[in-house]
Symmetry: C2
Subunit: 447 residues, 2 copies
């Protein structure tokens, strides 16, 4: 047994190894604290590229890294693979299922950072999830990849024309970055990557419909870029439907504004809701299940409990604007909290805390081959320049150097050859077996 973690020092527990949790841990690298980062998965995922795994452009390992490997040089930090079952603020305890603390089922903390993220929200219709998977984890991405590829497989041998049509129709609900990126990527697969692979269907006839409830795509962007994204998608063949609210999702299709559309493949990119863990804290949440935090990102009345990332409903002290649920918001908040704890563990006063200021470094979304929109420091970019910026910035932020090379190589290759080499349907043998018909839609095992 190594003894590094037995050094004295206050105990800091971080829940979640996403952008927020990892940034907090790294900001505490030199602090004299006993740090424990707990996640239910063994890997950090670079979520902005998750859609590329779902659309077979990248492999899971290209955008993920074992959390304990990322933090291996940080001797003050332990990493535990465990499920948190609850947070007891009164007794300063984090409770586990199974218990990472050498058989104990709870650990005490002096400071707690909750960075447990968000999950999909189906607007009060959890039954839609089985028909319309969302994209938050590697398992989600592999499931969606499987669905997309199986759609073409089943269409290839579908004798009934309306059913074939439905199998070759994709509906994406939600016109934010994830929805836009999925729509563009699926259209590219159908139109560029796989036409030569099939004998009985013309995959170029695939319909991709993107539904957005509001009046424009990419609401967080300036209207010109929203419009640009719409035009670019439509030029690729994607049908963009604005002001279109989905009122029903079944195995057979979606209902939008009273109109039923037969669709075999629905993907959900619409709403998110805070991790259920927030409810176990017994604190005030907003309508999206996020914890309402103060200017220093703490839970009101609990100055040593911070919430960062998608689980926090936070406001930037500079502008009073809401901190968006994006990677840079989580990273900045995690680093801010890490610095506060580092300072106070070295004798600083909690009274000296300055409020959190979110610095918006810009937003970007890819649309397709050499097409993207970007909004950086008030400047707007579209087309190839935005795409090159997007690529450069995303590769730069990948967590390890090897991934950067792999991803660049994959992109170059895919770009030159219209290729997507991760087109693998992986799953339970039984599920691979049958040409999926409706039964497949009811299946929900990520695999």
């Amino acid at each position: 047994m190594k003894d590094a973690h037995r050094d004295a020092g206050p105990r800091v527990v971080i829940i979640g190894g996403g952008f927020g949790g990892l940034a907090a841990a790294q900001a505490l690298a030199k602090a004299r604290v006993q740090l424990t980062l707990v996640d239910r998965r063994n890997h950090h995922v670079f979520q902005p590229l998750l859609y590329q795994v779902a659309t077979a452009a990248l492999s899971p390992a290209d955008i993920a890294a074992p959390i304990r490997h990322v933090l291996r040089k940080q001797a003050n930090c332990q990493v535990a693979l465990a499920e948190i079952t609850g947070i007891d603020l009164a007794n300063r305890l984090v409770k586990f299922d199974g218990g990472p603390a050498h058989g104990e089922s709870a650990v005490e903390y002096d400071w707690l950072i909750v960075a447990a993220g968000a999950t999909h929200s189906y607007f009060g219709h959890p039954e839609w999830e089985q028909f319309a998977p969302g994209l938050k984890t590697l398992e989600d991405a592999i499931l969606i990849r499987r669905r997309i590829l199986l759609a073409f497989e089943s269409a290839e041998y579908e004798g009934d024309e309306p059913r074939r049509r439905a199998a070759l129709t994709f509906a994406i609900v939600g016109g934010g970055p994830t929805g836009v990126e999925l729509a563009g990527a699926i259209m590219e697969i159908a139109a560029k990557t796989i036409p030569a692979d099939f004998r009985n269907i013309d995959t170029k006839t695939t319909r991709v419909i993107l539904f957005e409830g509001s009046g424009r795509l990419l609401e967080a962007f300036p209207p010109e870029l929203s419009e640009r994204a719409r035009r670019d998608l439509e030029a690729m063949g994607v049908q963009v439907r604005l002001n279109a609210r989905v009122t029903e999702v079944t195995a057979d299709g979606v209902t939008v504004g009273g109109e039923f559309i037969a669709v075999r493949n629905v993907l959900w990119a619409a709403g998110v809701v805070g991790s259920p863990l927030a409810r176990s804290m017994g604190v005030e949440l907003d309508r999206a299940g996020r914890v309402l935090v103060g200017p220093d990102l703490t839970v009101p009345g609990h100055p040593s409990v911070f919430v960062v990332g998608d689980l926090a409903a936070a406001k930037s002290a500079g502008t009073g604007a809401a901190v968006p649920g994006v990677a840079q918001g989580a990273m900045q908040a995690g680093a801010y909290v890490g610095r506060i704890i580092a300072g106070e563990s070295a004798g600083g006063s909690a009274l000296a805390r300055k409020p959190f200021i979110y610095r918006d470094n810009g937003s970007m979304a890819t649309i397709g081959r050499a097409k993207a929109v970007a909004w950086i420091n008030g400047m707007k970019f579209g087309g190839f320049i935005a795409w090159a910026l997007w690529g450069a910035i995303h590769v730069m932020f990948l967590v390890n150097f090897r991934s950067r090379i792999e991803v660049l190589l994959s992109w170059l290759w895919n770009w030159l050859l219209f290729s997507r080499d991760a087109r693998l349907i992986i799953g339970k043998a039984e599920l691979d077996i049958a040409i999926p018909r409706d039964a497949e839609l009811a299946e929900r095992t990520p695999s």
Copy 2:
């Protein structure tokens, strides 16, 4: 609908997209036949490198390719993702579940090539499978990767010393190439890749025990190379136990020659048995469930039904020696059968068939970092030279050019940095959650 497949020409059905089936299809590329290749998976897997996926060195997509993509330029060939439920030799029918033939549940053939491969055999103890997964598919590889990584995760927070010891003990049953390669790779992970990632355990104390029932490893190799492999493995820290027959496998460990060894992680590399599909043909099988074929690889009495690859018990006409169940055996047999059908479909006579001659191009197995054994044209190689040969030949045979670059890059990287970047535990969320104890061992969902 494209009409390429509606051209006239006799119907050839190939069951299985492994080495044998793919070689047969490619040998028929220019023949005037209607070819259908059916597989229950959408991808061809380069099986000799499967152990590298299981040990996190490569990603699934590095060694697999969609079958229909591989055959996309072959206009006479259709690819169907479907499960075959039976073969009716009397009526020349292949039966499907679901039916790839536009709703039909069977297709007729003029020639049939059965290349359905083999699965694991547990020597009459199917109940061992849940504790000792084997390695034949990508799903198997991902499951085994998961098991290996979870073993270290659970050991990290195991308070009970004997249980931690068991979690850090790996038993591999079977000393053929797969067993040797798994043993070496797991030892390397434990000793070189991950020691810095853990705080509470010293992964260098991991025990890897390789059990072989016969008197030497790699029985298909010359005795000097078997001995070399044993010495190399032992130098790396692997415990090699020869003449060791496993008589019991449970969740708690293995029993070998009356001795019980507490082991949390057992991997099966011992026996294979022909695909259950062989039984549906109602023909004579050998003890390993393989079809006894004639000199032209046909089923006796059925000159238009061929069996190739691991499912065939075939003899080479040259030496009378059994054709081994390896990639090159399947590829040579597939190509041979493809050429026969190409000739006869162009008017040649079945009476002119020459018997199949297997040409042994050599055998090789990796042991570890820059260590391998190779036996090529009667010449024996060990150490770095064998390893370089092994690498060059395996990369050469990968099915697409992109994979070759990716795999070379991964190997270079892994070799320089002792790295293994595909260390992802992917699976159902519930399974990732708890630190697995015995319950995990009972779980069998590939994920």
